[in-house]
């Protein structure tokens, strides 16, 4: 097995029911390192439920979830994971500034009880720049528009540059231009940094353009689009760097072509690596 093919997310015969109402049944999914997995499904199909099971906010009624090969029960490397939920528990009157919330993406297990360093503040600055909210840094989050708020939570998710980024409808309310540039950052991260993605979206077109047209059916209502990356890793480790390379790309494009829609088509020869045994009774435990 190649180094990059280690499983990052494994659902092993996972079943879940809310109050006796089954939502997910006997799910077997493996997402590997450097996969970009897009989860698509109708409303109520169980996408959010699945993501919450993966990050441990829900406990499966049967089966096991493993992250980076470790069962969730004993998993403790939460700094390797970033998660943007579908809905935020943001109280509009909670006095927290954009900067504070973005910084809180760094408050992971490893850093408990440690003070923030100047370096951390520049990371926050970069993350905010990446989402175009650097001007809003000192505003109260509750006073932002819906899309601006979503950008804050996206900035929080990438500030830590986690190895696995789990995004539940991350573009909700975000304007077209920011969607494009953020997705490009994600793509750059996917292709040139050792990162794995699991993303829910209803934007079929955007998903298909990057992830190809051959989804894997998890069950009748859920399908997974996966693209694997073998791109060369680049040395830059800061978000700013992704942003710069993105900007360079953009300028290139702008000088090269003006045709709309073109900038989206970046297909490379990614092979689908997700292993899915939906519905099967066995599978490697």
């Amino acid at each position: 097995m190649q180094v990059c093919h280690e499983p990052v997310i494994e659902l092993d015969h996972v079943t879940f029911a809310y109050d006796g109402e089954p939502v997910l049944q006997d799910l077997n999914i493996t997402i590997q390192q450097r996969d970009f997995a897009g989860l698509i499904g109708t409303n109520g199909a169980g996408k959010t439920t699945m993501l919450r099971l993966i990050v441990g906010l829900l406990k499966p009624s049967a089966g096991e979830v493993r992250l980076f090969g470790q069962p969730l029960r004993s998993f403790d490397q939460w700094d390797r994971i970033g998660y943007v939920p579908q809905k935020h528990a943001l109280n509009p009157q909670f006095p927290a500034s954009v900067r504070e919330i973005v910084l809180s993406g760094l408050y992971t297990r490893k850093r408990w009880l440690k003070r923030l360093k100047p370096d951390d503040h520049s990371k926050a600055e970069e993350a905010m720049q990446a989402l175009g909210i650097e001007q809003l840094a000192d505003k109260r989050v509750g006073e932002l528009s819906g899309g601006q708020q979503q950008r804050v939570f996206l900035a929080r998710a990438i500030i830590n540059q986690p190895e696995l980024l789990i995004l539940d409808e991350p573009f909700t309310g975000v304007d077209e231009a920011t969607q494009q540039s953020f997705f490009q950052i994600l793509r750059h991260m996917h292709q040139h940094h050792n990162m794995t993605f699991l993303m829910v979206s209803h934007d079929l077109q955007m998903m298909r353009e990057y992830l190809g047209d051959e989804p894997l059916r998890i069950n009748p209502r859920l399908s997974l689009y996966v693209r694997h990356s073998h791109g060369q890793d680049c040395r830059g480790t800061d978000i700013m760097h992704s942003l710069k390379s993105l900007r360079a790309d953009r300028e290139e494009e702008q000088t090269a072509s003006h045709e709309r829609g073109d900038q989206r088509r970046f297909h490379d020869s990614g092979e689908v690596q997700a292993v899915i045994h939906a519905g099967e009774g066995e599978g490697e435990m």
Partner: protein
């Protein structure tokens, strides 16, 4: 009254102790209060003091130390509130209301079962003018404990208060933290209530935080501002009450509320 006569009050030990005790509680209350208010537990001071009464009454009834039983009841109540807070996660303040009813009901039951006079409330309510050295040491201890807890765990407390799910996903042992916060809250509040009285503690937990959240845009500043509000009210209030011969707790609290109203008025609030 001449100025010298007015300043005379500062020479009295009881007044000095009141000022010192007030400053200590005035530091500690909003610090822990912020994490209570934003969890929607702003009435926890009132509730714990009422629940304690049940413990005190039971102490009288079965012949155990009323005061210790009062504290035990406060801790149990805080744990029950924490449990109910997850059941009513979207209406967390209901947990407080339920415990309030339950506590008062238990107290009424115990009191009616007892035959004695049960000077129940006396066990609970202090007054800021009647602090002794031991009270001051306890106040200092409580304040130090809260201060250290908040300083050391600031990041964790911010995250768990702002977004409990995010805290879990970033690996914070949320259940353990919640338990810790709960027990610390119960202990410090019930200690503080015994020392300076339920009125003052409940108000200092809530009102400065309510004022600062209107004035400040970020959490750190709102926390600092709430301490400033609180200390200003305590110092001015204790002094004014001392010179003008008013009820001290009442004066401090009304001053706080005045400061709150001034803050709201100056900000005019966001139009809906």
């Amino acid at each position: 009254m001449s100025v010298t006569e007015m300043l005379d009050i500062f020479t009295y030990p009881f007044f000095q102790k009141a000022l010192l005790g007030g400053i200590l509680i005035g530091l500690m209350a909003p610090l822990i209060g912020a994490f209570l208010v934003f969890r929607r537990l702003s009435m926890i001071g009132d509730t714990l003091s009422h629940v304690s009464i049940a413990g005190v009454a039971l102490g009288f009834l079965v012949g155990m130390s009323p005061q210790s039983l009062g504290i035990v009841f406060a801790v149990i109540a805080a744990l029950a509130i924490e449990k109910l807070r997850t059941t009513y996660r979207a209406y967390a303040e209901l947990s407080i209301a339920i415990l309030m009813s339950g506590g008062v009901a238990l107290a009424s039951l115990f009191i009616s079962m007892g035959k004695g006079t049960m000077n129940v409330t006396g066990y609970l309510f202090g007054s800021i003018y009647t602090l002794d050295a031991a009270d001051l040491w306890i106040a200092a201890g409580v304040t130090l404990a809260v201060l250290l807890f908040v300083l050391v765990n600031y990041k964790e407390l911010f995250l768990i208060t702002f977004d409990e799910d995010a805290a879990r996903v970033s690996g914070l042992p949320a259940a353990a933290y919640n338990l810790l916060i709960t027990i610390l809250t119960a202990l410090t509040i019930s200690a503080a209530i015994k020392i300076v009285g339920a009125l003052l503690v409940s108000a200092l937990i809530t009102v400065p935080v309510a004022a600062s959240m209107i004035a400040a845009k970020d959490f750190r500043r709102s926390l600092i501002l709430s301490v400033i509000y609180s200390e200003a009210a305590v110092i001015i209030g204790v002094t004014a009450a001392g010179i003008g011969n008013f009820a001290p707790s009442g004066t401090i609290v009304l001053l706080l509320i005045f400061m709150l109203i001034a803050t709201i008025a100056s900000r005019k609030g966001v139009k809906r």
